[in-house]
Structures are given as structure tokens and as C-alpha cells.
Subunit: 136 residues, 2 copies
DNA sequence: CTCATTACTTGTAAAGTGCAACTAATACGC
DNA sequence: GCGTATTAGTTGCACTTTACAAGTAATGAG
């Protein structure tokens, strides 16, 4: 299939647009950081930096920013004092939930005009693709 | 369906990763600009800036950068001298083709382990979704 | 001809990025 | 243990990216 390139670029752009429009007051990258922290229980800096695919030095500064915004807390890990564990504050968790709610609403809106079968097919296909793409 | 959020974030991240890894020496945004120019015949600055969803002032500077890299040319439009028409240089076109080739290869690699039916289903689903999402 | 509008550029300031070099804590070899 | 290597994270720096505000130049409207 040779139409994969236009589909790739267009889908990429739409998804980025949805994500950006769903974030109020924070950047897409910062939203991704909140999301990755929410997925794990008290992850370390390294863990999350790797998960969002960014340099640890840039990440360190982003965490500083998110801490100033009172969305994230950094707590020293008692078992190894080089390590800081990250968690969302109540405010951070609320924001994370709100962003995902807006994203979900936008996606569901796009799926709304499909019949049940098509909607299920599209969702399952996205899932299949996502699994295949995970890990490049 | 409540699994839409993990799928959204993971797919988004994978596609961004693929795009980034396919770009050598230019940023994802710059690659998107090259791609949008390649889609149209001699588009104006405004047209492309809108297509990639970026501020015209930022766009103007990015075009300056791409011109310095000899990937894009800006030619005055004779019918209206406020307007500049954009086109890819040979080098720019080559790079655009190369990036899309790498993206296509990575996507096809992910699709390779599916049977024909599943592959077609996934591709058609991406297309359907892309059409529904276009225009947010 | 004058004034509003349009297409694009430039000033400036802030945010984002990553390499190199740093500090501090832990692990390893002996 | 003790000294060295490694690991987690931070900071200095330089460069890129971004967008608002203000500017220039060309076109359109009355």
C-alpha cells in the first residue's frame, strides 16, 4: 500500500493537534510526563525520562518546572539516595485526568459517526498497530 | 471503549519516534514543512504555515533556516508582490523522499507480521480515522 | 489619494533542547 | 576496608524554537 505516507503524516498531525488543544497551560511534553508518571507507581527520574524519550538533563529541568507549577513532587528514595521518586500532586492528577478526558471526548467525537462494527474495527486496529510499533 | 487513552498516547509517541528517527539533520517540524510543500504546487508562505499549524512568524524563520540549508526556495509571485511562493530544491526534494522512504519502511516493517487481511484492515482503519480527525 | 487590509519580516523575550562537566551516592575489584 | 568505576541527577552553556508586538511593503476599497 503506497498511501501510507499521507495517512501517516495526516494522522500524526491530527493527533498532535488534539493533544495540544487538550492541554491548557502546559506543553505537550509536560502532559506526556504527567501521563507517564500516572502510569507507574513512584517512578524514578530516569524511568520517566526514558519513557517519554527525552534527555535526562532536559527532563530534570522540566520536572523543576512542573514542581514549581505544583503538579509533581520529587521525593528522595530511602533505599538509594541518588534516586528521586516522582509522583503527581492532587492538582497534577486532576490536570492529567482533565487532559485525558478532553482527548477521549475528541476521539469519541470522531468515532461517533461510525457504526458499532466500524468503531470496534478502528479501535482494535489502532491497538494492533500500537503494539507493533511499540519499541520502534 | 475506555482503552482509548493508552492507545492514543502510545500511538502518538511511536509515530513521533518514527518521524524523528527518520529525519537526519532536520527537525520534525522542518520535515513537516518539506512534506507540505511537496504536496502542493508552489504554495505561498501563509498556505504552508496554516497547513503545518504554526505561527507565520515562526514559519518565516523556519523557511529562512531551510533556505540556508538549500532545501527550499522562496520566489516572489509576479501577480502579487507581497507573496512568496515556496518550492523544494532538488536537495530538498531528495531529502523529503528519503525521509518518507524511511517512515514507510518502518511502518511496513510493523505491518509485515500481519496477514493480508489484518494489514488491509489496519491500513483502512488508519485512513478512516485520519479522515474523521481531519479538521479536529 | 487616503486608509484599511494583507503578506511577510524583525525585535525581543521566553521556553525547550542536549552536550559536557559537575556533585553525590552506590557498586565493584581486590 | 579503600580506591576506582558507575550511576542518578544537576548545572553551565550554547543553540533552537516559539509567539506576541511592532514594523515594512504591496494591494484593495472608497
Amino acid at each position: 500500500m503506497d498511501k501510507i505516507i499521507p495517512i501517516f503524516h495526516s494522522l500524526s498531525k491530527s493527533m498532535r493537534g488534539i493533544h495540544k488543544a487538550s492541554c491548557d497551560n502546559i506543553s505537550i511534553v509536560q502532559s506526556s510526563i504527567l501521563y507517564e508518571i500516572s502510569l507507574k507507581k513512584k517512578p524514578s527520574m530516569q524511568t520517566v525520562a526514558e519513557a517519554v524519550g527525552m534527555d535526562i538533563t532536559t527532563f530534570s529541568r522540566q520536572i523543576g518546572t512542573l514542581e514549581k507549577k505544583e503538579l509533581v513532587t520529587r521525593t528522595p528514595y530511602e533505599g538509594d539516595r541518588r534516586i528521586y521518586l516522582l509522583s503527581l500532586t492532587g492538582k497534577g492528577s486532576d490536570m492529567e485526568v482533565a487532559i485525558n478526558g478532553i482527548i477521549a471526548a475528541k476521539m469519541e467525537n470522531a468515532l461517533a459517526s461510525m457504526n458499532d462494527f466500524e468503531r470496534e474495527t478502528v479501535l482494535r486496529s489502532m491497538h494492533v498497530l500500537e503494539v507493533k510499533l511499540r519499541g520502534n
